[in-house]
Amino acid sequence: MPTPVHLPASISARTADTSILACNRLIERGGDALVDASLLRFADPFGMALLGATFHMVQAQGRAISVRGLHHAIAGYLHRMDVFRAVELIDSTPQLNDRRERSDALVELTRLHHRRQVDEAAYRLAVTLIGSIPGVDANAPPDEMTGYTAFDRLVEPIQYALGELLENALTHGRRQGFGDACVWVASQYYRKSGLIRLGVVDNGCGFLATLRNHPDLRRQDHLEAILTALRPRISCNRDLRFGMESVNQGVGLTTVARIAEHAGGRLTIVTGNAIHDTVGRSRALLGGAFWQGVAIGVVCRRDRLPGIRFSELLPPYTGARPQLRFE
């Protein structure tokens, strides 16, 4: 019988340290994995994406996973989120009632491994999330002036944010010898608070590996790499180089942070041993926790999304404005 790894009471962005520590133990321990989930009561999309990534990596090592003691209050929910694919549940049958009773809108955990899936997935996930919010009608008539429906106005900022984060994970995350990296994404609307939460987690090389040689990186540590990546026009790939097909502008992540901010929310970013919250918290993870890759939690207020205009998210710029031909 393997020694169990205990999951904490909450697996979430707010409890990133203990959540990641449990994941570290699961990944590092040899042999089949036994998870004791008897304390677990809450998981947010960040936590679910983290668990999904961890279970996948354990299984990829050829190790079986069993989960015991899962409380019925959360079993149906995690099951519906598809967190327990190919995982054996001991003494816990997710009850159908549990699933139906949840009024909050969930979009099940999804794993992507091809860059070409990004556009379609970002759109589908955003539509599914917004479409499951009670009272939001996908078929309401469009505004006569703009041609957009209230539904479109909610979908677009989420689609934008997901697209940028997924594309970052499947391009930058795969640099430095991490060509097999994948990305996991989960999302949920919380009816009582009116909040939308997204979790986007990859198991790639992490920010520091891509920005190690960047002249603007002042210290070679994970926290500094996050803060540097968040600045506009900072990219590991901003210059067109001979023989290199791709180029980036260094603006995507900044824009996602601005979307969250304009919608009354924030990003929580974890990579390596560091955590940064775009409203202030910024430190090393406690207890020696370490995430190989990038794990991002986004939270924002649903009622603020329709007011977002993409032009207002752009970084300020000075200097010459080239002549452009608009018709």
Binding site: R115, R116, V118, D119, E120, A122, Y123, A126, V127, G147, Y148, D152, V155, E156, Q159, Y160, G163, E164, E167, T171, R233, R238, D239, L240, E245, S246, V247, N248, Q249, V251, G252, T255, R309, F310, S311, L314, P315, Y317, G319, A320, R321, P322, Q323, L324, R325, F326, E327
Partner: protein
């Protein structure tokens, strides 16, 4: 000669998003431009991400220089798309000029 591209056709919902969607489109544009003439991008009924616009227009500027802009026409842009095109063009022209001034 004027070639047209309807950007709307590449949208998911109302948004054109990923760089990987824009890259093949840009290659098409480069072929058309190589034969002389100009390219009209029709943005009716579509919004765009900065990375899509950068992959389409920004990379053209980095490869061919700011003069390429004289041969591009942006049609029926929303205020947001227009602002993003202005930002990307200014940023990449600036980068191109700096890279070629020493």
């Amino acid at each position: 000669m004027r070639s047209h591209i309807s950007i709307n056709r590449y949208a998911h919902g109302h948004l054109v998003g990923a760089r990987s969607t824009a890259a093949p489109l840009r290659e098409q544009v480069e072929e058309a431009l190589a034969g002389g003439g100009e390219m009209v991008f029709d943005f009716s009924k579509v919004e765009a991400t900065q990375s899509f616009i950068d992959e389409l227009v920004g990379v053209l500027i980095l490869r061919h220089g700011p003069d390429v802009l004289a041969r591009l026409v942006f049609k029926s842009c929303s205020d947001d798309v227009r602002a993003i095109i202005e930002f990307v063009a200014a940023d990449r022209c600036d980068q191109y000029i700096k890279a070629h001034s020493h």
